[in-house]
């Protein structure tokens, strides 16, 4: 089974985003990182109201605007043009990061290069050879948001596992990741390590374990040792804001 084949087995980018979106409760204040996390906004169920924060100074970020309504001075953290919903507020950078650092953001969903089983995250630098290090707000977000979730492919483009016993790349923060939504599984980072919450369709615990660089705990296994296939419709909002 090649890497390309195995990718077809798992969830798509939109399905990964949907999996995370379904775990965000109504009323949450959420910051979405660049990349797959941005897709989460499109998958919030209609009966939930979630407020999106973008660290460059907007609470109440809306969807991408129609081209004729876009404004180069209304952008998101990825510097793409965005919109503001009714009830939004603009503020300066120190106030925006006070919101983050002060623990007011309920959930921040980021991409990852590596996640360790102790919750360490590496997502900002490819290491000493990085030709142009750039950190942005990642370190502030992981230090400040109440919950850090990761949405990422289970492996790198070269097929190497991203979920590891230890990060080998420079870390963004220590012990801060709570959940990981990959194309192959949804995983909770517990004191004991990676705990499998859900497997993607058409894959298996054994196969996903092979593609993971640390032990996967399976507390969902039933008496026969099989993964209890948790259907998406069963899932409401296990996570509650304080």
């Amino acid at each position: 089974m090649t890497g390309v084949d195995s990718e077809k087995l798992g969830w798509s980018r939109d399905e990964m985003a949907r999996n995370a979106a379904l775990d965000i409760p109504s009323g949450a204040y959420v910051n979405l990182g660049i990349g797959i996390p941005e897709l989460i906004a499109d998958h919030i169920p209609d009966d939930r109201e979630v407020i999106f924060h973008t660290e460059n100074g907007l609470l109440g970020m809306g969807p991408s605007p129609a081209p004729h309504l876009s404004d180069p001075e209304l952008i998101n953290a990825g510097k793409k043009r965005t919109s503001a919903v009714d009830g939004a507020a603009y503020f300066h950078h120190a106030d925006s990061f006070a919101m983050i650092r002060g623990g007011h953001i309920d959930v921040c969903v980021l991409g990852a290069m590596q996640v360790a089983e102790n919750g360490d995250l590496a997502n900002w630098s490819t290491g000493p050879d990085d030709p142009m290090p750039a950190v942005g707000g990642a370190m502030d977000l992981v230090a400040g948001a109440k919950s850090i979730w990761i949405v990422t492919r289970h492996r790198t483009k070269r097929g190497e596992p991203k979920l590891l016993s230890d990060c080998t790349l420079p870390v963004t923060g220590l012990g801060i990741v709570e959940r990981i939504y990959t194309d192959l599984a949804t995983i909770e980072v517990t004191k004991s390590g990676f705990e499998l919450k859900e497997l993607a369709p058409n894959t298996s615990l054994e196969r996903v374990q092979e593609l993971t660089g640390a032990r996967l705990l399976n507390r969902c296994a039933d008496d026969e040792g099989q993964i209890r296939a948790q259907s998406v419709s069963d899932r409401t909002s296990p996570w509650q804001p304080e």
Partner: protein, 236 residues
């Protein structure tokens, strides 16, 4: 749908618990959430640590909360003002504790609490008796005091206008401590003279974004503390 409107003052303060740390907005009467304070008197929570710039005047509002024996400690910058007799009397009788903090340091410690900054260095008070016991450190040849953040379980503030998200705007100098206290408490409870449709508030002019506010209760025509004091009013 997110809706932070609370239908009664009593509901708004129902969960304030004995021993809680409570921030109360206001500089003198401007911005003092008098109706919320009165609801807290009715509610009866005791042994409160109150963070507020002053200690109230007459026998209403914050002064009445203190008179009612609900406050064991005040953290403030100016505990005596015109017509403030309740706190000075209790203090002289040794019945209430006082932590006196320079006004700007008080504001900055509250802001730090809301911003996830555990401590800052400030030049205010260096060499004075208020610096006694505080750690000092030099930066660029000048001495500063280490000042730690203040956080609270609850904040009570007064706003001019609010929407269902808890976005707030204030009135003139009644803004004072409201925006920073809103950020520094686990639960911020605001009274507002007016509820606004969400789309009516200009996103460029919102002072407290709703993320900092848990509950908003409408007090259409709030009491004027100085009028009550002039009239010799007492609460309850």
């Amino acid at each position: 749908m997110i809706n932070k409107y609370c239908s009664s003052l009593n509901d708004a303060v129902a969960d304030v618990f004995d021993g809680a740390t409570l921030m109360v907005g206001g500089f003198g009467e401007a911005g003092s959430p008098i109706e919320l304070i009165h609801a807290l008197i009715d509610q009866g929570a005791k042994n409160l640590t109150v963070v507020s710039n002053n200690t109230g005047s007459g026998n209403v509002g914050l002064a009445a909360l203190i008179a009612n024996g609900q406050v064991s400690k005040m953290i403030c910058s100016f505990p005596r003002t015109a017509n403030s007799t309740v706190f000075p009397r209790k203090y002289s009788e040794g019945k209430i504790e006082l932590e006196l903090v320079p006004q700007g340091t008080l504001a900055e410690r509250i802001r730090a609490g809301g911003a996830g900054i555990p401590a800052i260095y400030s030049p205010a008070g260096v060499g004075t008796i208020l610096a006694e016991g505080k750690e000092t450190r030099e930066f660029g040849g000048r001495t500063y005091l280490l000042e730690t953040a203040i956080k609270a379980d609850f904040t009570l503030i007064k706003a001019r206008i609010a929407d269902r998200y808890g976005n707030l705007q204030y009135n003139k100098t009644a803004r004072n401590f409201g925006p920073i206290m809103a950020t520094a408490a686990n639960k911020t409870i605001a009274q507002a003279a007016q509820f606004s449709k969400v789309k009516c508030l200009d996103p460029e002019a919102i002072v407290t974004p709703g993320i900092f506010v848990e509950r908003v209760v409408e007090v259409f025509d709030p009491l004027v503390e100085s009028d009550l004091v002039s009239a010799g009013a007492t609460y309850p």
